[in-house]
């Protein structure tokens, strides 16, 4: 089913009776070439690129709940490529390029809005660090513009520039950064994967992974056993539980990250604003709500809800940065369960079980990675070799100590991230 302005107009005039489901609901077959466990953004994009880039369409995505019911719908929708370290830098650069063509590629409006992202700095030392980061981004081929205080004031006049603790000295503008409609990303990939023959199987929880002689043979599910040549675990937040089904212990702790949204307001925040010193960032959704969040609650959790201390911290940071926000009412808060890795960077790799692949450890930043993550995992599954953009996302980097990507510079230990 195609979409167009005319179609929307016509359906509006005829009672919207012509819309049809955009993907099939097939029964699982007994055997597939590739099984993807997890029907979130990363799993769906993996299935799509297996079909689109490698012609592998004998693929099923197994989802315990409904498609897009996990972190793809719990994030704060930010899309950016402003990473510093080799490994992350080329990967997110690749991802942003895929985002920029995504709507045409999928034939689906994901409302990708490159409204610009601004990281604020508050001291000379922080300015130097952002100059260095901006140069790294430019060297990667992406865009970065250093703003002085007046430059920031011109774009973000509503900030409190006189605050005593963190006076705003300037910012690093990433013009191609922005936001996208997160649910639509899952739906767009689902629809496009289905159109290429991928089976999307919802309400199908995986209960076991069959391994024989060091090789994966298939999975047990709530809808019966399914055989497969290759199985990919793409279940960020639950990686430890699913990997344990194959006897694996992974370098992941699951933590809760909270987000908040206010009532709908008229346009006030035109960009994505990141206030790193307050662990705070904010943007305004197309519906008008101010969407913002903070840091982890800093203890393992699967509760999908946070605690009051971090909620208070986030509100304090918001009031510090932009007192105008005090007039807005927060209408919802929620928590997503993050796969936290020791160095704060992800894993797209094989495992010790032949044919079993792992995509995990997305920490705070899985949403913007969705296109390139699926692209790289599909490449790894189809060709047996890592894609060049994700070649450093190795599972063994913690064991060997080689190729750690500690973007925050705090140390590659669980309790430091």
């Amino acid at each position: 089913m195609g979409y167009s302005g005319f179609r929307v107009f016509w359906e509006g005039l005829t009672g919207n009776r012509g819309w049809r489901p955009v993907w099939r609901e097939p029964e699982p077959k007994a055997r597939y070439k590739v099984l993807v466990i997890g029907g979130g953004g990363h799993g769906l994009s993996t299935a799509y690129y297996l079909a689109r880039n490698h012609g592998i369409t004998d693929v099923a995505v197994l989802e315990k709940g409904w498609l897009g019911s996990g972190n793809i719908g719990r994030n704060t929708t930010i899309v950016r490529a402003n990473y510093f370290l080799p490994g992350n830098s080329e990967f997110y650069s690749h991802s942003l390029k895929l985002w920029e063509g995504l709507e045409g590629e999928l034939g689906y409006n994901v409302m990708h809005s490159q409204r610009g992202l601004i990281n604020l700095f508050h001291s000379d030392g922080q300015r130097d660090a952002f100059v260095r980061r901006g140069n790294a981004m430019a060297a990667q081929g992406d865009d970065a513009v250093l703003l002085d205080r007046e430059g920031v004031r011109g774009l973000l006049p509503y900030l409190d520039f006189e605050q005593a603790r963190f006076p705003i000295h300037g910012g690093l503008l990433h013009p191609r950064g922005g936001t996208a409609r997160h649910d639509a990303v899952a739906w767009g990939y689902a629809r496009a994967a289905d159109a290429r023959g991928v089976d999307l199987i919802q309400n199908c929880g995986v209960t076991g992974i069959r391994v024989e002689n060091g090789r994966v043979r298939g999975v047990e599910t709530t809808r019966g056993p399914i055989e497969a040549e290759s199985v990919a675990i793409v279940v960020a937040g639950r990686t430890s539980q699913v990997a344990a089904m194959a006897g694996l212990r992974v370098p992941i702790e699951s933590h809760v990250l909270q987000a908040f949204v206010t009532e709908g307001l008229k346009p006030v925040i035109d960009h994505v604003v990141s206030f790193g010193m307050g662990h705070f960032y904010i943007s305004q959704s197309d519906k008008g709500g101010l969407v913002f969040g903070g840091d982890l609650d800093f203890h393992p959790s699967y509760a999908q809800r946070g605690n009051l201390p971090m909620a208070e911290h986030v509100m304090e940071a918001a009031m510090t940065l932009m007192p105008v926000i005090g007039r807005a009412k927060v209408v919802r808060s929620w928590g997503g369960i993050m796969d936290m890795s020791p160095d704060g960077s992800p894993v797209i790799d094989r495992t010790d079980v032949e044919g079993l692949f792992l995509n995990c450890g997305w920490n705070y930043g899985g949403f913007k990675a969705v296109p390139a993550s699926g692209w790289a995992l599909a490449h790894l599954i189809a060709t047996g070799a890592p894609h060049e953009s994700a070649a450093r996302f190795r599972l063994d980097r913690f064991r060997t100590g080689r190729g750690l990507m500690d973007e925050e510079g705090t140390g590659a230990q669980h309790h430091l991230h």
Binding site: R249, E253, F298, S301, N307, F398, Q413, H414
Partner: protein, 81 residues
């Protein structure tokens, strides 16, 4: 969330810092080898449900092994390590 210090009783979560699973108390021998040290430093059981964790209570500067449910945030026990 309120946590229990074995010395001070139930206190606000803000007074505590999470360090890691209680298994960190079982430090491998210096010559235990790469696999043992990798397992100790990086690999985690990451349980969904009951979890034994090492927390630091900052006001009294004592470590506590707190048994907690990661699905509900309920605290089931607390002991000095």
């Amino acid at each position: 969330m309120r946590l229990t210090c074995p010395h001070c009783g139930a206190r606000d979560r803000r007074e505590f810092t999470y360090h890691g699973p209680a298994s960190l108390l079982d430090r491998p021998a210096p010559d235990a080898g790469e696999a043992a040290w990798n397992a100790y430093l990086h690999l985690r059981d990451n349980p969904e449900g009951e979890s034994r964790e090492l927390w630091y209570h900052e006001p009294c500067r004592a470590w506590a092994v707190i048994t907690r449910d990661t699905r509900t945030h309920a605290v089931h026990g607390s002991a000095a390590p």
